[in-house]
């Protein structure tokens, strides 16, 4: 399947129709979805209608948009009007949203074709897509292994050539980690750059929507299409979004790259080797390398696993059997709510709700939640100091390549630890990108991560592009 840039160009020039591109995408989904469990719902009819509309506009000589005819896989925590949206939870099974997420409206306005909804860890809580109520997704590169998570479905869709673009959400690494495990580009934008309206909330102060693609340019095109202020999201940044595609080839000459030991130490040897090769590539491309130690990043994991569950326990209070989704009947309204939530939520979601409720409860608030919010400040201050010495930071995305099914499900803490390198950017609200760079154990892709200050996406894409070229993808 052609990538985003090639597809949009071919459709806009009339060299391919949006409908023919879509049929190729649907055929690949039919061929592999049963084995991989990527899509929970495929909207063939709606996608064909959208593709037909794009083709008619091309025929009339109109400029359709930057993503003309590009099929897109949407993580199933993004609302699309009248399309089943489950968050991979039984508590929302059968629910059809009465509105589009802003990112869906923006994709459609750019000429893209939403194809269907992809599997995730229930309510985006997980790092392997094993926590889905509808079964795990398999990694297309090795079906005995996880695709990562929580955006594992959208990552697998792109890796399996079902669509050239997937959208995910990243609360503690849920775009970047599956990107690394599936050999893709994954971007967690600056907090507020992309509207969260219509993204079913997990942890509102950390969640951001971003793209998963095969190339850096594709990711830049997709992010440009979905970024920008939205009055429907009061946390959306008021400033116009940065220009990205125009800067992809800017390179890193003269830039200071901070290599952060705390984003590398503890990773497997193959991942460490990939980061070390990336350092050499960036140096050869004219960057100045600075070694940095930022011990506060290690504390981020502790803060995150109190802050995110605390926000989740509050956000998920809305699932009470009253307004949407599952209702399990019981005597009075309190019994109904308890029966509904007990039947509707899976184990990991319950674990996080419990953790968050505890951290916020009387007598423990200051000791846990209050303390975590202060550690969040320390993390942000540590980033600020690091950016006095470096223009961007480099580290690993994940401690290992894609792991095998069941290897971490019995031990939640082991699963949480796999987010250690991605969490700091969520706490600071700053952007980060994962770039596939080389291969490790069993020939599986290794990912490296570039981090930058708020709204520095253009710089990150330029750095990622240097690594992409060096990794043999000119």
């Amino acid at each position: 399947m052609k990538n985003v840039r090639e597809t949009a160009r071919a459709v806009q020039n009339g060299d391919a129709t949006a409908l023919s591109v879509l049929e190729e995408s649907l055929a690949q989904i039919r061929a592999r979805n049963e084995e991989l469990n990527v899509f929970l719902y495929v909207d063939e009819e709606g996608a064909r209608a959208a593709a037909h509309a794009v083709d008619e506009r091309v025929a009339r000589g109109e400029n359709v948009g930057a993503l003309a005819g590009v099929p897109v896989a949407l993580k199933d925590n993004l609302c699309q009007t009248n399309i089943p949206t489950t968050c991979s939870s039984k508590i929302l099974e059968g629910w059809r949203p009465p509105y589009n997420a802003t990112v869906v409206d923006r994709l459609l306005a750019a000429g893209a074709i939403p194809v269907g909804k992809t599997n995730l860890d229930e309510f985006a809580m997980g790092s392997s897509t094993e926590n889905s109520a509808f079964g795990p997704t398999r990694n297309p590169l090795d079906t005995s292994r996880v695709p990562g998570g929580s955006s594992g479905g959208s990552a697998a869709a792109v890796a399996a050539d079902m669509t050239p673009l997937g959208l995910g959400s990243d609360t503690g690494g849920s775009i970047r980690q599956p990107a690394a495990l599936c050999g893709l580009i994954g971007v967690k934008p600056s907090y507020g750059l992309v509207s969260r309206y219509g993204l079913i909330a997990f942890a509102s102060s950390l969640d951001q929507i971003g793209p998963l693609t095969k190339t850096v340019t594709d990711a830049a095109m997709a992010l440009e299409a979905i970024a920008g202020h939205d009055p429907l999201d009061s946390t959306s940044l008021p400033e116009p979004p940065p220009s990205l595609v125009a800067h992809v080839e800017d390179g890193v000459a003269g830039k200071r790259v901070g290599v952060v030991r705390d984003l590398i130490d503890g990773a497997d040897d193959d991942v460490v080797a990939a980061v070390e090769r990336a350092v050499e590539v960036l140096r050869d491309a004219g960057a100045t390398i600075v070694e940095l130690s930022v011990p506060e990043f290690r504390l981020g994991l502790s803060a995150y696993y109190l802050i995110a569950p605390a926000e989740a326990s509050s956000n998920l209070a809305r699932f009470d059997g009253v307004r949407y989704g599952l209702r399990v009947d019981a005597g009075d309204v309190t019994a109904m709510m308890e029966a509904t939530r007990t039947a509707g939520f899976g184990e990991e979601v319950k674990r996080r709700i419990m953790l968050g409720t505890y951290a916020l409860s009387a007598g423990y608030y200051d000791a846990y939640y209050g303390q975590a919010l202060k550690v969040r400040t320390l993390t942000i201050d540590a980033f600020r100091r690091a950016y006095q010495e470096a223009d961007l930071l480099l580290g690993a995305t994940t401690p290992s390549v894609a792991f095998e099914f069941g290897s971490k499900t019995a031990d939640p803490m082991a699963m949480y630890l796999s987010d250690v390198f991605t969490i700091p950017s969520n706490l600071s609200g700053e952007p980060a990108i994962s770039v596939p760079f080389g291969t490790g154990e069993a020939g599986l892709p290794t990912g490296v991560q570039l981090l930058g200050p708020g709204r520095s996406e253009a710089r990150l894409f330029a750095g990622a592009r240097v690594l992409e070229i060096a990794d043999g993808r000119p």
Partner: protein, 99 residues
């Protein structure tokens, strides 16, 4: 800091409107205890005077003009409710029998 007790977990389950079986209480006491134990590395820090961060960019008081705007279609929203009556969400009894 005192370690997490089984009765704490039972209390939190009640607050969170979740029913826990005996074996779930055992498991969650152990697992949540591990996460809290890991978080105890924060207690070694001197955080006196550190200002807590609740939101990354500190946007405050984002308001919009107080004017009537289109909103979601009432019927479309109610169509997704588990139970509705006269255009309103219906729930089981919320008050007990009269004494």
């Amino acid at each position: 800091m005192a370690s997490l007790r089984r009765e704490d977990v039972a209390h939190v389950a009640k607050l969170a409107r979740l029913t826990m079986s005996e074996s779930e209480l055992d498991k969650f006491t152990e697992q949540l205890g591990q996460v809290l134990e890991h978080a105890s590395d924060m207690n070694a820090l001197d955080l006196e005077g550190v200002v807590p961060t609740a939101h990354p960019f500190g946007l405050i008081n984002v308001v919009r003009a107080d004017e009537v705007r289109p909103c979601l279609d009432h019927d479309a929203v109610m169509a997704m409710a588990p139970d509705a009556e006269d255009g309103r969400f219906a729930v089981p009894r919320i008050l007990g029998e009269a004494p």
